[in-house]
Amino acid sequence: MKKRALFMLAILVVAGTFWGALDRIHLFGDPVRAPMDDYYLNNAQQERSVNNVVTAIVFDYRGFDTLGEAAVLFTAVCSVLALFRKGREGQ
């Protein structure tokens, strides 16, 4: 009984926090602070001569992130190779 009450209390706390966060969220497409977005949208074509602003962010302004993503894929391939490699008997 005590366990169930604790569980209900936890659910209430989580739901209240979630509801409060949803209540304060900004409208879709209307960010609270937009200077960074405006900078990208206004200057990507001129600075980096690229039409696709998403690609400009992913591969240029935030290129270091993409290096990490490529490294994650490389690590995944390495671990799969280590797991499924055909070893000799008893190894």
Binding site: R48, D60, L67, V77
Partner: protein, 165 residues
């Protein structure tokens, strides 16, 4: 896996070409349209899974050499890192090719335009590098996981025969 029937094999032979071309299109037009290296590479690697399911493992492993895909993956990652490091005189991952003329250097008109494929500098170069890496990596995962299934199937006392017919 055993090869599927001749109808499935014929249809897969036809559509594998379209899948490969579509993946390469997504990679090369990464700086103009939605998509890029990761997505296009995944599409091309799907072609390998497609051929594996339709033609069976014996025929696929006869021409899909793991060494080739391993070289593809390493080349892609090295090209990506080199393209990032060549701009080190300004910052890391600086787009030193954009707007300079020459390779991928055409300037883009400001505002909506129909798109110039010879633009975007290192962005298109990196898209191709990441595309090579993803093609090699995902194909290697598919090939090695298939080989891993075979490995346990032939083990002593194992009744597992895979999920093919």
């Amino acid at each position: 896996m055993n090869p599927l029937s001749v109808v499935v094999r014929t249809i897969c032979d036809v559509f594998a070409w379209f899948m490969g071309i579509f993946g390469v299109y997504i990679i090369i037009h990464g700086h103009l349209t939605p998509g890029g290296g990761f997505q296009g590479g995944a599409v091309v690697a799907t072609m390998i899974a497609f051929l594996l399911v339709s033609h069976g493992g014996k025929k696929l492993l006869a021409f899909a050499r793991p060494g080739f895909y391993s070289a593809l993956e390493t080349t892609g990652l090295l090209l990506f890192i080199c393209a990032g490091f060549f701009g080190i005189t300004t910052t890391l991952f600086y787009n030193f090719l954009a707007g300079q003329g020459g390779l991928f250097g055409s300037a883009v008109p400001i505002g909506p335009n129909s798109g110039i494929i010879n633009s975007a500098g290192t962005i298109s170069l990196m898209n191709m590098a990441v595309g090579l890496e993803v093609i090699g990596g995902l194909s290697l995962i598919i090939i090695y996981m298939f080989k891993g299934i075979r490995l346990f199937e032939n083990a002593e006392g194992s009744g597992e025969t895979g999920h093919d017919r």
